[in-house]
Symmetry: C2
Subunit: 455 residues, 2 copies
């Protein structure tokens, strides 16, 4: 067999594998979205139910307007993390509906748009605790009364994402105004003066930075700057600042990504300093990779793939049972979080995005194989073939520990975002393969973030 | 064989079983205390290290002055519980050292007393965040600077316990003054005006009561009133109020103990209302049982045994793997806490106390058998025969999930309190058996709370 033929056969095999995964991911996205559209809409009060049992039944009618979707991203041993990235359930769901409507032809239905707008109106009416103040609630009653407020910026970040995406699909300026004004407020809280958040600064509390804050901000820079040169320009310096701050979390001569570092980028003492969250590092990885691609910075792209994709996978993948550990201690000590060895849906969703994006960017087949490895585990262990959507929480061995599909910490966000992004990236890879001029011509040119679609 | 002989043989068998357990418990208490005395003392700054690895090594030098020892007692699905019972590690350790010094002859060593006093001085100097204000910190740096403050009364409750016990062993009036003044402040926060705790009351937050608050207060009434007729009289009405409030948590026609109820004693909606914590109900059980015995109220005693001992055990014991579940949902739905199915050390310690006290009070052999069942499981699964002390966290199947011996949520408190109380109760039961006038004369007279020793 000639070398050229073998290369052609290899490409054909790759094409088939990519095609198979594209179909699986596409079908799964349809099933997942059907689950949320069937079970989560509150026709009476607007907004979305977030607490859905295995079969979609509502087991609590509280609305986690700011659900802690990434709950444990930063649940540090204690002192309880200074920052806790909470994912609002209504804003992400609004964002998700709009994003799908905008990016994937088959989701361009008036019903989806109407639900997103209804969710947006619910947010406009109820999310802020004391308008015109910008602080948003964390959880609301079914009819919109605030139950709890968090002293972080995460609820406001998701509010901003939802409003910007609503503007993109409706063209209504009031949404964009909300988004940009909230963004200004968030940047002020983070970079100028956090006192408005109401957190007391105690003499013994170290001045630490959790990776979540620059990550969320970098994600917002990406969101607001898409196809908007003016805003992209306004936030360019902020984007660079965020990237620098995230990169400070690579510690120990490049051998570990630590969730919390001092404000000047040094390792903190104790459990807080040693705390690791492999899924969070992988998510930061693809945020940074998009930033590096936008900037056209090949050195940064390689650094990100090495430190935020390969390194966290190497240390975070469970060699015995598969899956990514939830938390680890950089010294290999026992973490103090009860759930440290559990396998959660979102680190696996983030890993799928990160590895496929890393492969799309670099063409390194090792990254494609990691995508397959994570995706196989994820589809096998988390999917619920019976009722749809994914289980969120497995024990270390991969057994379902919680049967809920939505809850305080899981909503219509990570799973469909992962599936939509993977569908688009797989499509782009297949197109590139189809364009490849001849066998043996090497890896096709990298796609731009814009081509990579839904972020 | 004559009936009298058989009764005599049965009593002999019981005596042997009680004697065996008394020895096991006694030896275990010695080993456990040796662990803490060897590893937890901070000779340089005073106070105690709380973060100890399996072999006693300090893995973090933060001092959980107010460690969340019962961390999940109330970790409700969300809205995050309005009350979170945090166990301070230094105050309980001070309390424990003093209590052992006072109650068990073999612990009456100057070294133990000196350590307790050093811990007490550390508390007097650093526990309050802004003296003369009464609010206490939740966690301190090694040298006593506050890292975090909680907006609950639990830190202050444990401070009160420690100070009162220090006064009992030293006779120094300053400690008792601290205890009584802090108690007044706590009662004011709980019954008059909680605004000083700094928790905002939001329109959507239900006016709910967590069982922890009246429980902790009832425990303080017991602590301060011991052999002190004046204080016991002062707090008599408070004790009755606490008992009434705890009893309101028996819901659903007496078929469930719920962790959170409305302030007027109705079931709350959603996960918050359905939340159950079997270990906490059992602990409330023995607090209430001591109250009922003090009051000489046989009807209440029987009610408590039925609703707070037998009922939580029936619903909370894992029929497949043994051990008490950490959290449950009263409708049998899946709890939203990731750790709901784990087995923790403290519910088992509390269950051992509760069943032995229930048996001591009622003579019902079913309760003695439950004590044996729980104690066998506990000693088999939680004890670490290699390095001493107990593991704190097992997975559902009973495998050690966290190897730490002390941490943000586990200190020198539940295990030695359980062992000391069981040792004394087993001793009292053996004495009663020895006094039993003749075979067949029935169950010996009940012991009083005072005879039951360490609370």
């Amino acid at each position: 067999m000639s070398g050229g033929l073998r290369v052609w056969q290899d490409m054909e095999k790759e094409r088939e594998a990519l095609q198979t995964w594209k179909q699986r991911v596409e079908q799964e996205l349809d099933r997942v979205m059907a689950f949320w559209m069937e079970h989560s809409h509150d026709q009476e009060h607007g907004g979305f139910f977030t607490c859905l049992g295995r079969d979609g039944q509502v087991y609590d009618d509280l609305k986690y307007v700011w659900l802690q979707g990434r709950q444990g991203h930063l649940r540090t041993p204690s002192p309880p993390s200074l920052e806790n990235p909470h994912i609002p359930s209504t804003p992400p769901q609004v964002w998700m509906y709009c994003r799908l409507y905008r990016k994937l032809e088959r989701f361009r239905s008036p019903a989806l748009l109407d639900s997103a707008k209804a969710g947006g109106e619910f947010l406009l009416r109820y999310a802020r605790v004391a308008p015109p103040g910008k602080k948003c609630a964390f959880v609301l009653t079914r009819d919109g009364r605030p139950v709890k407020v968090q002293r972080t910026v995460f609820s406001e970040c998701f509010y901003t994402m939802a409003m910007n995406e609503l503007w993109r699909v409706t063209g209504e300026a009031c949404y964009q105004k909300e988004a940009v004004e909230m963004m200004d407020q968030i940047v002020y809280w983070v970079r100028e003066d956090p006192s408005g958040l109401g957190r007391p600064r105690l003499p013994g509390a170290p001045a630490s930075e959790s990776m979540a804050v620059p990550m969320m901000l970098l994600n917002l820079v990406d969101q607001l700057g898409e196809a908007d040169e003016e805003l992209a320009g306004n936030y360019a310096e902020l984007g660079d600042w965020c990237a620098r701050r995230i990169l400070q979390h690579v510690q120990r001569d490049g051998q570990a990504v630590l969730e919390n570092v001092s404000e000047d980028g040094e390792e903190l003492s104790g459990c807080l300093g040693r705390h690791q969250n492999p899924g969070h590092a992988l998510e930061a990885g693809w945020f940074l990779l998009r930033h590096a691609i936008r900037k056209g910075d090949p050195k940064l792209r390689a650094h990100v793939i090495s430190k935020f994709l390969l390194l966290p996978f190497r240390s975070g993948w469970d060699p015995d049972h598969g899956g990514l550990f939830y938390f680890q201690d950089a010294d290999g000590l026992c973490p103090t979080q009860l759930e440290w060895a559990m396998k959660l849906w979102w680190p696996h969703s983030e890993a799928m995005i990160a590895f496929l994006m890393g492969y799309s960017d670099s063409g390194d087949p090792a990254l494609l194989h990691l995508f397959y490895q994570v995706a196989e585990y994820t589809f096998r262990q988390f999917r619920d073939p019976e009722y749809g959507e994914w289980f969120g929480y497995l024990n270390q061995e991969g057994k379902v520990a919680l049967t809920i599909k939505g809850g305080p910490f899981k909503g219509c966000f990570h799973v469909p975002r992962c599936l939509a992004m993977c569908e688009e990236m797989l499509g782009a890879l297949l197109s590139r393969l189809a364009l490849a001029p001849s066998p043996g011509s090497g890896f096709p040119p990298a796609v731009s973030p814009a081509q990579q679609g839904a972020k």
